[in-house]
């Protein structure tokens, strides 16, 4: 069992859990994730490790409650415990020196972005952070990111916070400004956002890293369910990723595979609610 030390709500249905995992905390590097099961019989859910405190033996998880399994995880209060936490899994982020780096987060992807943006800043890169959400309540971790970002830009689709529109508008202006143009871009968020960022940077030849979240089970390379097509080859997000060159990722295939169980999940939720499936 892995004790939950604290559980805060950051945004509607987005929680920050600090969990005791003394073996994982010292081993973890930015960009890695854990596989979590709340209770016996539950799904194995991959979650990015947002931060770690090796001295305290704790890790921080950002969890968006979207399905039955993630709702169960966020319902565990401080003082409670998670049954299984396995990791750290995946390749750590390659922390290079590019001088100017743009870090772009969309929705809950901002939580995945946070640890690697922090690591990039600590390595001496000047960070411009652009985060976006549907409306102000979905803009998360702005203060935490501002703490180490040279510049923090916010966009919302409804204009309720920052600029009205999408993160790509800010990125396009950044690229057009020779004094601010990034040498590398890290983009994490919904698939359409990552695709749009990759298309925007491609003509400029700006190195672009995206972090993918395909359906995953074991997280150790054993099942291959998380395979993604990168540069025409099958790669496993759990052992080869989760970060890949955004210019080589087949986003159509990723979107399609992410939708594999959509019908089944809808049916399951309907049954849980005691309603007839439509």
């Amino acid at each position: 069992m892995y004790d939950v030390i604290s559980n805060d709500i950051l945004a509607p249905s987005l929680h920050r859990l600090v969990v005791r995992a003394p073996r994982i905390a010292p081993a973890r590097r930015a960009g890695q994730f854990v596989i979590v099961r709340a209770e016996k019989g539950d799904e194995r859910i991959p979650l990015t490790i947002g931060d770690a405190d090796p001295a305290a033996g704790t890790i921080t998880l950002f969890v968006q409650a979207i399905g039955a399994s993630t709702k169960k995880i966020v319902a565990i209060p401080a003082g409670g415990a998670i049954l299984d936490v396995a990791g750290p899994l995946g390749q750590p982020t390659h922390i290079g020196s590019w001088e100017r780096v743009a870090c772009i987060g969309g929705g809950v992807g901002t939580a995945v972005l946070y640890p690697l943006a922090k690591a990039l800043a600590e390595a001496g890169n000047r960070i411009t952070t652009i985060i976006g959400g549907r409306s102000s309540q979905y803009v998360i971790l702005a203060d935490e990111l501002a703490a180490f970002s040279g510049e923090l830009l916010v966009t919302t689709e409804d204009g309720s916070r920052g600029r009205k529109g999408f993160v790509t508008m800010e990125l396009a202006e950044l690229i057009a400004d020779p004094l601010r143009a990034p040498r590398a871009v890290f983009a994490i968020g919904p698939v359409p956002m990552m695709r749009a960022v990759a298309e925007l940077t491609r003509p400029h030849g700006i190195e672009t890293v995206v972090s993918l979240n395909p359906i995953m089970i074991d997280g150790t390379g054993m099942c291959g369910g998380c395979r993604v097509v990168v540069g025409g080859e099958s790669r496993f997000a759990c052992v080869d990723g989760p970060e890949f060159d955004g210019h080589l990722v087949d986003f159509d295939n990723l979107s399609a595979r992410l939708a594999t169980y959509r019908g089944i999940e809808a049916e399951h939720i309907c049954r849980l609610a005691g309603k007839e499936a439509a």
């Binding site: 019989g41 390379g221 594999t260």
Partner: protein, 472 residues
């Protein structure tokens, strides 16, 4: 007393048949197919053993079970003695009695098989192991040796790891098993379906090891959570048995369409996560009306029989050679056929064809014919020009094999590998690093449960020798 049976009487007994669930009934449930022998039938079958002098059956067993002795005790209806001998020699007898290919091992060497049918050693092993499980109270508890102050880390809780752990614990070593998944058993749990090996059997075998004082730590991935060098610093010896967990891709177009699974993913969803099996399981699986499973091994049989149980109207094995070359056990092929599985032989997959929504719709195939034998002695399949055809398949499962999982070896560059990425081990599992041993599929590539167990047993003996030699 059977001791009074004459040779003629022994020879006159016909080999027993394993009672099975009715094929039509079982092809829709995950209940165990083989029901096991009753006591009367088991004793009678044991009396077929003529107690020959050569004991070739023992040489045919990768873990060297004292077969004539346990079978003899059973024939004499001394079940506690039969159980004592069997559990002493074999760490997982209830597993082996169910999944071992006895027909190519112990039973293949049985002298009675030279003229007629060999003694059904596998059925008897299962009977004695199951009897022992349900009569724990009547068996004297195994005396534990005093701790000798040495510690061993076992990486992986599959058949090799469990066997090594049991052997080492019995010799007084402090053993800790590190398992990457959330549950025990490795491939026994995530790979082999319940209709062949009920999970309660794995639970009971693991419980027996824990009773020997073995420590189990799940959710620890060696190479990620801890490195090999950390284990070397913390333990006196290490046994690596983390399996060949990395699916081999087909490298054909359409392999990444929705509805295309690796065997590991398909079986893990159902066996480990309960998808399609436990009514409350939140892990989903695509059931499929027409399921094509590519491959001819036991894993392919497990997948295709699972597909039938998940409701497939057509469940097909697609194999590029003929049935004679199939590596699957004869019993698995027989059971699959009885359950309505179609065997599409001499057929190689070319492409998974999508429907308009991006789902697998058909498996485009090509007919093959058998040419000259390859180095393994099996005839090489050769494509027949112009023979392309489509099989309907809304689910395709790739069961062509696995490769070495790189997680541990990637963070242990000092560990010598062979050219396939498997750990290079000698006949006792010794690696190039002192005190580090390896066995099972991480050394062999994809092999069987019993060969992995044999590796675990030999490595445990070697580790015991190493730790006793003062080198550690």
């Amino acid at each position: 007393m059977s001791g009074e049976l004459s040779m003629k009487e022994r020879l006159a007994i016909e080999r027993v048949h394993m009672p099975e669930l009715d094929a039509a009934e079982r092809s829709r449930t995950f209940a165990e197919v083989n029901r096991g022998l009753d006591r009367e039938k088991a004793v009678r079958e044991a009396q077929r053993c003529i107690r020959c002098r050569n004991r070739d059956c023992v040489a045919g067993c990768p873990v060297g079970v004292s077969i004539p002795e346990f079978v003899g005790a059973l024939a004499d209806e001394n079940l506690p003695e039969a159980a004592r001998i069997l559990t002493r020699d074999n760490a997982l007898p209830a597993v082996c009695g169910r999944v071992c290919p006895q027909e190519s091992q112990c039973e293949a060497r049985c002298v009675r098989g030279k003229k007629g049918d060999p003694v059904a050693i596998g059925y008897l092993e299962r009977f004695v192991a199951d009897w022992a499980m349900s009569h724990v109270g009547e068996l004297s508890a195994e005396p534990l040796p005093a701790p000798i102050g040495k510690s061993v880390a076992v990486v992986g809780c599959g058949p090799a790891g469990l066997t090594a752990a049991g052997e080492l614990a019995r010799k007084g070593h402090a053993v800790t098993i590190f398992e990457a998944l959330h549950d025990t058993g490795g491939v026994l749990r995530y790979g082999i379906p319940e209709f062949r090996l009920p999970k309660t059997i794995i639970d009971a075998e693991v419980a027996r090891l824990l009773a020997l004082g073995v420590t189990m730590e799940c959710n620890v991935i060696i190479g990620k959570t801890l490195t090999l060098s950390q284990l070397q610093a913390e333990f006196d010896a290490v046994f690596i048995a983390n399996g060949a967990g990395l699916p081999t891709m087909l490298n054909i177009p359409g392999e990444n369409l929705k509805g295309v699974y690796s065997a590991n993913e398909y079986l893990t969803r159902v066996n480990l996560m309960g998808a399609g099996r436990d009514p409350g399981s939140p892990t989903p699986i695509i059931r499929g009306r027409h399921v094509a499973v590519i491959g001819g091994g036991n894993t392919a049989m497990d997948c295709v029989r699972t597909a039938r149980r998940l409701g497939a109207e057509r469940a097909m094995i697609v194999y590029r050679r003929s049935e004679a070359e199939m590596p699957a056990r004869v019993e698995e092929i027989k059971h699959a056929k009885e359950e309505g599985v179609e065997f599409v032989m001499l057929t190689a997959p070319l492409e998974v064809v999508a429907n308009w929504e991006g789902w697998s719709h058909a498996l485009r195939c090509q007919r093959m014919e058998l040419g000259a034998p390859d180095p393994s002695g099996r005839r090489t399949p050769v494509p027949v020009a112009g023979s392309e055809f489509d099989l309907p398949a809304d689910v395709v499962v790739n069961a062509v094999g696995t490769r070495a999982n790189p997680l541990l070896t990637a963070t242990a560059p000092e560990l010598a590998l062979n050219r396939w990425g498997n750990i290079a081990g000698d006949e006792n599992g010794g690696t190039n690093l002192p005190g580090v041993y390896a066995g099972g599929d991480i050394v062999r590539g994809g092999a069987t449960v019993i060969l992995a167990m044999g590796d675990g047993k030999r490595a445990a003996a070697a580790i015991h020798g190493y730790l006793g030699s003062g080198a550690a």
